[in-house]
Symmetry: C2
Subunit: 127 residues, 2 copies
DNA sequence: GTCTGTGCAAACGCTTTGCAGCCCT
DNA sequence: AGGGCTGCAAAGCGTTTGCACAGAC
């Protein structure tokens, strides 16, 4: 795993702000000219394999990437359907459900959970 | 909303078995020759608008459609990562979380939640 | 007869692949 | 010096659009 300019810049962008970003957003952040879109895809794939990045596949078609911090707890997001801003929730209350499924014979369980709605800022602006 | 052969066949397929189906599965079920793929997309879009069908956008890239029964409770699914079979869970324990978000100012909340794992059948076959 | 639904072909956007050249180690 | 990384071009795939014709009401 070589240390290149593109990889350094991308990792930097992912670390400085927390919040899952789209590939497009990341591309803009590190400067469109400093890196090809194809390289973005490939680098993010490499980062995923290296467990540096987690892929958040929102159910609305958009795919986002966030810096994977092994220390922080498993969490989910709220996506504003108007401004597309994403906030993080600090906990996850699904352990009881996974427990039930494990009892039923399921193995290697994971889950994807995302919330959608109008965020406070958009809600007050709209009304 | 006209009653055509394609629409009748598609609605039939969706109703006779419960479980979200991919567009491909539905196309196969009603017979590949009896309907163009494009019409499948268009008809499913119409059904969604008419609230006859609910779209389940799994986080793994696959999109599925299920017959929308207004009487049945809001529920989620478990997807087997090996055989791709989908089972339905009967309840949803996320109301407390949505409540908290509403208190924080979020509006019009919805969520997408899907579980992934190895189903009991695949688990016993594999070991 | 009118207006909606359908099939076919083509466009579309996002993502992946192939290949030649560059740069990190 | 070598092999991984990158850019560019092109292919791939699921989905959408345009248009002419057929079918429902």
């Amino acid at each position: 795993l070589k240390a290149t300019d593109v990889r350094r810049a991308l990792l930097e962008s992912l670390r400085e702000e927390h919040g899952p970003f789209t590939l497009e957003e990341l591309h803009r952040k590190i400067g469109r000219e400093s890196c090809d879109l194809v390289t973005m895809y490939r680098t993010l794939a490499v980062f995923q394999r290296a467990r540096l990045v987690r892929r958040c596949d929102f159910g609305d078609g958009s795919v986002r990437y966030e810096f994977f911090d092994p220390g922080s707890a498993h969490h989910h997001h709220v996506v504003c359907v108007q401004c597309r801003q994403v906030a993080s929730l600090d906990d996850c209350a699904l352990d009881p459900i996974e427990e039930k499924l494990r009892d039923a014979g399921y193995r290697e369980l994971t889950h994807s959970l995302e919330f959608f709605g109008v965020c406070p800022r958009c809600a007050s602006a709209g009304s």
